[in-house]
Amino acid sequence: MFLKHHQTKFSILLLLVSLAFLLNLSLGQVAIPFLEVVHFILGKKLPQETWHYILLDFRLPKAITALLVGSGLSICGLLMQTFFRNPMAGPYVLGLSSGSSLGVAILLLGSEIFSLHYISSQIGIATASFMGSLFVLLLIVLVSRKLKDTMSILIVGLMFSSFTSAFVSVLTYFSTAEQLQRFTFWSMGNLANMSWEQVLQLALWVCSGTFLAFLVNKPLDALLLGENYAKSMGVNISKTRWIIIFSSSILAGSITALVGPIAFVGLAVPHIAKLMFHTSNHKVLFFATLLLGSLSMLICDTISQLPGQSFMIPINAITSLFGAPIVIYLLIHKNRTW
């Protein structure tokens, strides 16, 4: 009933996501005509062999990665905002990404100090990142149960970010130039250079995290009235809490592991969805956030590859450049949006 109500908006969004996806494939260092991209998607042969190669091995995995990263981080933000009753919550703000960074930093930079020697393996990075974000989330949940004040949760996230950066600077002091370079590149965020195998891995994680998130739409609606009301309406709070914790850590952890920490998407997109659909109904917001997350990440990625230029701006810089003003705008108009 609620979804039907918003049919037009969803159709427009779906169209925009498809357009952005094709545009993302078509633009880049080498511009490939839009029509040829459509031909490629339809499985037809392209006039130039190199175009086919660029699209299949480079741009398509990148565009799919953008799609997955955008939707995954935004869903994570939506979960956390309702669960912590805090409009400023998100995987980056609450320090989940910092937790991931800490995990990866220990692995990449501290391999000699802590004698970890499986540093080059992707699985190692993914595990470290997941553990890092899970650790921070558990910490936040612990604090949020002790202190009812939602503000203090943000402060914990903030403190953890500073702790991480301080810890990383100490580690950099003891690490080699090569290790440092690897970590720096990772921390700037990079959607490119994903092999198909890695894309598949990411897709698997994001899909399972998103599926878990979908399961808690109903209890999240009840939580909009606060924990007491939710409980009185039969919501199993601790079960819901664990599903949310696992879902968010899987999403934030896997995404951060494979493409690096991405700022602001998880925070800003759920708000854009709430602003656009004027609702708090999680069934509507879930799909809206999914689509808007994909859309914004595709757009950010298209901008970051600077059409026609031979170099790229780090994706994290783009999301921050656009995300920060949006968040400030939302803060100023806060009474209207949530």
Partner: protein, 261 residues
Amino acid sequence: MVENDIILECKNLTIGYQNKTKKEIITQNINLQLRTEKLIGLVGVNGVGKSTFLRTITKMQNPLAGDIFVNNLSLNNMSSRVLSQQIASVFTDKLPQSQLTVYEIIALGRQPYTNWLGKLSPKDIEKVNWAIQQTQIQDIVDKKHNEISDGQLQKVMIARALAQDTSIVVLDEPTTHLDLYHKVSIVKLLKTLAHNTQKCIVLSTHDVDLAIQMCDDMIVMTPQHIYLDTPKNLIENNIFDTVFPKELISFNKRKGKFSFQ
């Protein structure tokens, strides 16, 4: 006189708080039977344990000893879903910020009955509309919850509890922050609902005069004892004299009101 059915029963109930190191007992040996079709007012001074009592009978916290039975079923072994079909609550909590409309809030009351997606069936929608009609808030159903007054919000939360379709409704201080007119209209609404829908409605309140005039039964909590009776009997037995410390406030039996020294 025909007695109504017993819907909630406390047997040797001890309420209070327990943490790792110590037990803090608030009231011991509570034995009460609450019946259907009654509006029951719960009064007592601040800190005597009204909220703790309400939180215990709604299973928001566990009793330190004793048993509570709802519809002859022990609260201990009741799943949260079954419990939510028996007892609905209205809390004093401020609602977190959201864009929920009045209609959506009331519809959330159907959660104990909906599937895992929360889809409303025709019967659910019927119940929601019935709750809206009972509380007479048809004019505001499309408004967001932060656009209405405190008095209206209280009615909305009562409608939500009605939509939950339970035999017991528990309200924690529903008349606080309201002016006299809205206080009376809320309590009057609750009384009508209790009588028309065969519910047992329990409300805690500091408006003792109002409760004496409007409630069918009253629970009076004092540090030593907990009494349940009709307001008339409670007055005759001088129970209200024990509610407040005597040096400032005493109960005037003739007027049925408190007077100040």
